[in-house]
Symmetry: C2
Subunit: 346 residues, 2 copies
Amino acid sequence: MTNPPQRRTATSRLPSMADVAALAKVSSQTVSRVVNGRTNVDDDTRERVLAAMDEAGYRPNSAARSLKSGQFRSIGVVLYTLSTFGNMRTLDAVTASSTLAGYSVTLLPVALDTENGVASAVTRLAEQAVDGIVIIMEAQVLDRASITLPTGVPVVIVDSDAGSQFTVVDTDQVDGARQATQHLLDLGHTTVWHVAGPDAAFSARRRAASWRATLEEAGTPVPPPLVGDWSGKSGYQHGLTLAARKDVTAIFAANDQMALGILRALHESGRAVPQSVSVIGFDDMPDADSFYPPLTTVHQDFGEVGRLCMVKLLELIESNRPHPGATLVPAHLVLRSSTASPSRRD
Amino acid sequence: MTNPPQRRTATSRLPSMADVAALAKVSSQTVSRVVNGRTNVDDDTRERVLAAMDEAGYRPNSAARSLKSGQFRSIGVVLYTLSTFGNMRTLDAVTASSTLAGYSVTLLPVALDTENGVASAVTRLAEQAVDGIVIIMEAQVLDRASITLPTGVPVVIVDSDAGSQFTVVDTDQVDGARQATQHLLDLGHTTVWHVAGPDAAFSARRRAASWRATLEEAGTPVPPPLVGDWSGKSGYQHGLTLAARKDVTAIFAANDQMALGILRALHESGRAVPQSVSVIGFDDMPDADSFYPPLTTVHQDFGEVGRLCMVKLLELIESNRPHPGATLVPAHLVLRSSTASPSRRD
DNA sequence: GTGAAAGCGCTAACAT
DNA sequence: ATGTTAGCGCTTTCAC
C-alpha cells in the first residue's frame, strides 16, 4: 500500500513533474522517464522519484501529454439516445473494445431536433480531444451533405445507410428479417403480418423491405404493414387490431418490445400464442426468454457490432485514410415458444 | 453555408492558430480573440480571420486549451456495466445534464473482478482529463478504504451506501420498497412474499430490508425471501416455486425483469394475475405497461438521479471542497393491473 | 484594436 | 545514467 496522498488546499494547483523533480532532486526529464517506464534509470533514482511522486500525489497531466504527442488516446461516440437496448449494447461493446485498446470513450449526445445536429456534434467532438468518432444514429439524420467529414477525423457509422463513402458497421438487417419471415412461412403460415418500426428509422425500413421481399419471393400475398414506434404500447395497439382478424396467424414484429405488446393484446383477446397466432420478434433483448410465452426472435450481436466498430476505427486512425464500405454482422434466429404451425381448422 | 474544409494529406498536421494567423495576416493572439468571441476586434479583421479559419479548416485544440486553463470541461463516469436499465438511464441523464452545463462525458468501464477495480479506475480517470467523477456502482465494490479519493478530484456516487464521507445521490429505495409492500398489505393480503435481487447489490439489500421492516411493523409474518439475480429467468424459477404454494397471494419482486419472469411462471402454472396472485415490481422500466398484465411497480426517476449527480458534482467542482451527504430522490408507486385484493375463498 | 512574450506540463532530441 | 533545451497550441499579461 502506498502512502495516503498529500492533502492540498483549494487554491494550490496539482503537482507537476517539476514539483516531483524538485522533491526527488532530479530533473523533470528523469521523472518523465520513470513515469513512462524507461529502463535507463538507476534503481536508486527510480525509487527516489517514485517516493516523491507518491508524496506529492502526482498524476500525469494528459492534456500536456496530448499536446505534445498530438494523440488523445480517446474516441468519441455520437448518439441520439442511450434509451434503446441496441444503442446501449453497442455503446457497451464499443467502450469495452476501446478500453482494451487503451482508448477512453467520450460521449456526445445529440438532440435530434437540432437542425444539422450530427454535423455540429461531429464538429464539436473534433474540438474535443478525440482521435476518431463512432456515430450510432439512425439513417435519415445522417444527411449526407451535412456530414462530409468536416474534420478530417476518422469516422465509423453504425446502423445506417450512410452509403459507400463511409465506413459503416451494422447487423445484417435484411438477412435477419428474411429468416424471421421465412421461418413463419416454413411453419406453414399462408402469410405473415408485419408490425414495423417507425419509418424514419433505417433499420425499420430495411426490415420491412426484407419482409416484403421474402413474402413476394414466396408468391405469398403481402398484407399491409402496421407502423409502430418501437414501444410496447404501439405493439399492443396494433396487436389489438390484428387479434380481431381471424385470418391472422403469424406476426413478425420489428422489435421485441412491440412483440411484447402484441403478446399482451393477443392474450387479452383470447388468441392463444402460438396455437392460434405465432409471434416473432427482433433483437433478442435480455428478457425475451421470460416473455409469456418465451419469444422466438432474431438475435442481434450488438457486442460484435461494437467490437468491429473499434477494429475499423483503429484501422482508420492508424492508416489515416478513408476505408469506406459496409461490414455486416450476421443475425440469427433464436427459436423459443411463440411460434408454431398454424392449427388445422380452415 | 461555409466553404468545404480544406483537404489535407495524411501526413500534414492539423492547422493551428498560427496557420490561421499567417493566412489572415494577423497575430495568433487576434485569432484567439476571434475564436473566443472577444469584442475588441475590428469587424474587418474579424471577417478576415473567420475566412482564414474556414479556409484552413481550423479547429481549436482542446488539449492546448486545457493545458493552459487547467480545466477540462469534462467529467468522468465510472461504471461496472451499461447493461442494466438503471445504469443506462442514469448515464443518459448525467450525460444530458453535463452536456447542458458544457461538459463532455468520458466513460470508464471497470471490470468487477479486478481487485481494487474502482480505486484504480478513479486513478486512471484522474489521469484522464476530467474535472470531476461520477461513480455508478453497487455498494460492496466501493470498499471504503480503497476509495479515499486518491486524487483530489471531486466525486459523486450513485446507488451505494458509501457512507457519509462521500457525496451520494440515490433513489429512495427504502421508501419505494415500503410503498410496494404496504400497497399489497392495504389491498388485504395477509403477507407479501419477496423475490430479492442479489445480495451483493446494495439496492437489493435495501429493498429487502425495507420489505421486511414494513411487514414487521404491520405485525405480519415474514416469509423467507427468495434471492434472484435481477434476470427474468431467475424470476421465472422462483415464480414456479411460489406458484406451487396456494398460500401465496402477493409477491414483491425487487425489479421489473424478475417480475416479468414471475408473471410467466404464474401463467404457466394456471395462477391468474391479479385474481389469484398479485405481483408488484420495482423500476418501472419502459415496457412494464406492456406486460401481461400491465405491471404495478415502483417508479424510479433515474433522470432526476442523473441530473442531481451533475448538480452536486458541479457544486463540488466549483467550491473545490468536500460536501458529503446523501441526496435521496423519491420513488412512487405506479398502479396498473397486476395487483388486486385477494379473492375470498379461504 | 492589435501584437509580442511568456509559460501551462510534458517529452523528443541532444548533450554530458 | 542523467540533465538541458526546445516546442507542442493556446491564452494571459503587458506593450503599443
